[in-house]
């Protein structure tokens, strides 16, 4: 693992965390979808780079899937949904932007602190990669919590999936099974989300989770 390869991998992982922060920051729907496309692009680049370093050809397939599905198809579908739902205007996150950012930084610090005791025995690359992957996951979770809109929650969830891909590919030599399953889950998740969004759209004229809340089975 010559140092150059290590640095490039770190570059991609760091870039992914940065894009996650941008996702947190962005409060406009169309902007959000474009940044998510960028997020998927960075992930696929990092996977491709991992494939190059570990000369594991199957990773290229994952990179291609990630690029094709998550960077192109999903953003395009989301754009059409958003336009049809007419909600491309601003979506105000529940908590102020400043506070979310602060929480995001705290989370990254936490994931690094958690990763420190991991001994060198597990390989330096693995340690940093995991720290970044964990941060992306935590940021994705934070985004799902701080957004009212179903679409933005789905985007948050998919950024978590990207974090997972980063972690999976970072683990050198993980058998192929895992890659396919991750891809498989993205695919299925998309379909399900699509059906739901469409269905929700049909029922309540809006995608705002909060309004959905009123239709709970058991009232207080």
């Amino acid at each position: 693992m010559d140092p150059l390869a290590l640095d490039v991998a770190h570059l991609f992982a760091g870039g992914l965390v940065l894009v996650s922060f941008m996702l947190l920051y962005q409060d406009r729907m169309t902007g959000l979808i474009n940044i998510f496309a960028l997020h998927a692009l960075v992930v696929s680049l990092s996977v491709a780079w991992q494939a190059a370093i570990q000369d594991a050809p199957h990773l290229y397939i994952t990179a291609a899937i990630a690029l094709g599905v998550k960077a192109v198809v999903i953003p395009f579908a989301l754009h059409r949904i958003v336009v049809r739902l007419g909600i491309h205007r601003t979506i105000e996150p529940v908590v102020g932007i400043g506070l979310t950012m602060l929480a995001g930084i705290g989370l990254v610090a936490l994931s690094i602190m958690v990763m420190l005791p991991i001994t060198a025995q597990a390989g330096t690359l693995a340690r940093e990669d995991l720290a970044f992957a964990l941060s992306v996951i935590l940021l994705g979770l934070l985004m799902m919590i701080s957004r009212r809109n179903a679409v933005s929650q789905v985007i948050g969830f998919m950024s978590i999936e990207n974090g997972l891909i980063l972690a999976a590919t970072g683990a050198k030599g993980m058998p192929l099974v895992v890659e396919i399953s991750v891809a498989f889950s993205i695919l299925v998740a998309l379909i399900v989300i699509g059906i739901f969004l469409f269905r929700i759209r049909e029922r309540f004229e809006t995608v705002d989770i909060h309004l959905l809340h009123e239709h709970r089975g058991e009232q207080p």
Binding site: A122, I137, F157, P175, F196, R216, G217
Partner: protein, 482 residues
């Protein structure tokens, strides 16, 4: 590796998969219901055959003592639920809740769920287990949303979001386990096979293992319904069709808990790592206390029993957290008996909801007067689930409380108190439901009482007499879990 063992192993996976595909094409309800029941019966037969001969663990599939118990329980409950769902779905069709198109979808999804759960239980590969649990979750998400009512959709959406987050965390945990194993075992499939992991867990990196266990506990804990992560369970149970709630709380919770147990055995094999006990104890205890208090204000009968499932899963997690052969034995037995009792209760509740046309507890009164069999079935089920003496659950709860008392008396007192609180709530609701004079409209109940009777009989027998072979075998597995 005898031929029939491998054949049984292969069959138990192939049957549900094939029947799922076939059922997706069958338009007619009656034949698909019968095929569904037949497929479940065949998988039960294969499970029993597995009990006799056991193939050696392969790269992807393993049959050891731990998962044979789970397989038998899940195939048994799967079979009885399929028998129950035959009459339930027939009634739903008449009432018009379901259109024939969705019906095909329902039966196919049912068998796909069975396939997912069997695969999860039998898989030797950590990643494969994750995929199987993911498949089972997705099928149940679709099933919960099958009624298309706003409440069902909201419940399904909530279940999907929370489930996916849980699964993501579990995947991250799985990756961490692989990383920890890779440094000791080298790459490849070995680093993810259970029997290999457990064998040399002692020289894994303890810090990585701890982190992985945190993620796995939270990830699969969401599927088990432990308290901070339980939110999807009551709504998913209440809004989905009753056979699904029975399978959900009977089997899916057990499968997720099975996964946690697998990882706990890996964790505890490594002395340097953080002891998994305290984490499980705290989560289990919080779940028991929280769920028993939540029982009081419930207005929906299915949500009432969903919270009771959370409580019992809390008790089982607590028992495994306490550890020691007696607690493990009681935990395993409790899990099996709970899935039998809870599915029996949901069978009753399903028919009651159909007969009374509502799930609101306030509108269901005097069941023993209007529908004696259903009413008394519910009474017996609630008596069993509340842990009253003649039934098996009392014995296991008693064993758990006494073994806790031996180790940490303070916890035993808290556990005992919350069990009593839960008992109070359940009996209060039962009193309203089963006795008094009947109210609200009630059509005649045409339902198959075979599954209810079978399950409750098994639980009653377990309460009174346990075959020595079963006891010895459970104890062996308990020691396995240390």
């Amino acid at each position: 590796m005898s031929g029939s063992g491998a054949f049984a192993l292969g069959a138990i996976l192939a049957i549900p998969a094939l029947s799922a595909a076939v059922l997706a094409l069958l338009p007619d309800n009656r034949t698909s219901a019968q095929l569904n029941a037949l497929a479940s019966f065949l998988s039960l037969a294969c499970a029993l055959m597995l009990l006799v001969e056991r193939p050696d663990p392969g790269h992807f599939l393993i049959v050891d003592d731990l998962n044979v118990t789970f397989i038998i329980v899940s195939t048994l409950v799967g079979f009885s639920t399929s028998v129950f769902s035959a009459s339930y779905i027939a009634h739903e069709l008449e009432v018009g809740h379901l259109t024939p198109a969705y019906l095909r979808f329902y039966h196919a999804m049912y068998q796909a769920l069975m396939f997912g759960m069997n695969l999860a239980l039998l898989s030797n590969n950590v990643g494969l287990m994750w995929v199987a649990v993911e498949l089972a979750t997705l099928t149940t998400v679709l099933m919960v949303g099958i009624y298309r009512t706003p409440a069902a959709l909201e419940a399904a959406w909530k279940y999907f979001l929370l489930g996916s987050v849980g699964i993501a965390l579990a995947l991250f945990g799985t990756i961490l386990v692989y990383l920890a194993a890779r440094s000791a075992l080298g790459e490849g499939l070995d680093a993810m096979a259970w029997h290999v992991l457990v064998a040399n867990a002692h020289d894994f990196d303890p810090a990585l293992l701890n982190l992985s266990f945190v993620f796995l506990l939270l990830g699969y804990g969401t599927k088990v319904g432990l308290v901070p992560l339980h939110a999807w369970l009551p709504d998913a149970h209440a809004e989905g069709p009753t056979p699904i709630s029975a399978v959900l709380s009977g089997l899916l919770l057990n499968v997720a808990l099975f996964a946690i147990l697998r990882f706990k055995s890996v964790m505890s094999a490594n002395p340097a790592a953080l002891a998994p006990g305290p984490l499980m104890i705290s989560l289990g205890l919080i779940s028991v206390v929280f769920a028993s208090l939540m029982l009081y204000r419930r207005q929906d009968i299915k949500r009432l029993f969903a919270y009771s499932s959370i409580e019992h899963m809390g008790i089982v997690t607590f028992a495994f957290g306490i550890g020691g052969p007696l607690a493990n034995f009681a935990g395993l037995l409790h899990m099996a008996l709970h899935s039998l009792t809870k599915s029996a209760i949901f069978f009753c509740v399903g028919h009651i909801a159909q007969v009374k046309g509502t799930q609101r507890i306030a509108d269901i009164r005097g069941l023993t007067a209007s529908h004696p069999v259903l009413g008394w079935g519910l009474v017996l089920g609630v008596v069993a689930i509340a842990g009253l003496p003649p039934m098996g659950i009392f014995m296991t709860e008693f064993l758990i409380v006494t073994s806790t008392f031996a180790r940490e008396p303070a916890l035993a007192i808290v556990l005992g108190l919350s069990l009593v609180v839960a008992l109070g709530a359940l009996l209060r609701h039962l009193n309203g439901l089963a006795f008094g004079e009947p109210r609200g409209h009630s059509d005649p109940a045409k339902a198959s009482f075979l599954p209810i009777g079978l399950h409750l009989a098994l639980v009653l027998v377990a309460g009174i007499w346990l075959p020595p072979a079963l006891v010895a075998w459970f104890q062996y597995v308990a020691v396995l879990l240390n």
